[in-house]
Symmetry: C2
């Protein structure tokens, strides 16, 4: 998608204020680097933050796109994943196994609206709509994006002694139940990960 | 851009190996979260890593796209920025003031080729080409992406007492000279940041 540099004809005062607002937004985003998740990047002795996670899922989405169950618009998927955790700047990260309550989602939405509120109303609305679509998980793009969002934490646990599952007392059955949603976006990816999980459980990953 | 799930007709054995390779690539990417840069996110008492930086520049690119000097394909710009630092997994991060030597660039390219080499040759080549385009900085997309890549570290220094410039003994003149390349992608953004820099220097940011 090509964007023309449409700002050339705008009055300078309006432009400068808008640019200031965007710089303020970019600065605000730094806070997502301080929001800690529940898993650790493989090989690192610290918890992952939501900003680096957001980058990681974008890369995973690109490389797995041909395994999506349905045609997806990868550029929309990437934008969804870039912004999907911004609300955590205010709401913090909640492990997915307890995050799917109306209260947690309302806090994340309020946070997203507050941070995007630093931008113009039209831009904010575009990304609020994209987040709502992601959360609803009813479009092909959202189904695929939500599948992808599960993959790195699952790999972190598989390659990191199930650390976050043990620390948060998540049973094998809950792991399998919750992550089975991956098949809504990609049954090929879920088939592969499900057999890896069952194999790891049989070898005592969580015992 | 819409991608059809083209893998449905492939023999299962080939699919499974390719999927394993992609999982291996996703796992390898975790290492970029351990590559430390020279600036600190605003408000955090640690150095930034190249993975979270990659996310941050994607967000900045989206929100500043209307300020690009020339029409840009924002989806290509985002992909460039998502992958632009992957070579640092092997090469490490070098502050931009000393990074632009043939040796540093060769190390980054070798790293990129090694990591992308975990994927199929066609996919690897697509992203190597995108990185080479970014590094050459001769297309409108690359000029804009390279401009954007400078913005968060500049804001980090402006809002963080010029920490990395002081720690690395970068003079005011070098800051202005190097970052003036921002105007190749967006003269409006550079006009604004240049006056912020001069104002901060006049108030003693680096003294």
């Amino acid at each position: 998608m090509t964007f023309i540099a449409v700002k050339a004809g705008f009055p300078r005062g309006i432009l400068l204020q808008e640019l200031e607002d965007i710089f303020g937004f970019i600065i605000e985003l730094d806070k997502l680097k301080g929001v800690l998740r529940k898993t650790r990047p493989i090989g690192l002795q610290r918890y992952e933050n939501s900003a680096e996670h957001s980058w990681h899922v974008c890369m995973a989405a690109i490389m797995l796109r041909e395994y999506a169950n349905e045609p997806v618009d990868i550029d929309r998927v990437i934008k969804m994943l870039l912004i999907h955790d911004i609300g955590e700047i205010d709401a913090g990260d909640t492990i997915v196994y307890s995050a799917e309550t109306p209260q947690v989602k309302a806090e994340e939405e309020a946070g997203l609206r507050r941070v995007l509120g630093l931008l113009s109303e039209a831009v904010a609305q575009e990304y609020i709509d994209l987040w709502l679509e992601f959360e609803a998980g009813e479009s092909a793009d959202a189904r695929y994006a939500k599948s992808i969002d599960r993959i790195p934490p699952l790999l972190h646990n598989l390659h990191g002694d199930g650390l976050s599952w043990k620390e948060n007392a998540i049973s094998e059955q809950r792991v399998l139940n919750l992550n089975s949603r991956i098949k809504d976006g990609s049954s090929a990816v879920w088939d592969s990960l499900e057999s890896k999980l069952k194999d790891a459980f049989s070898k005592g990953l969580l015992s």
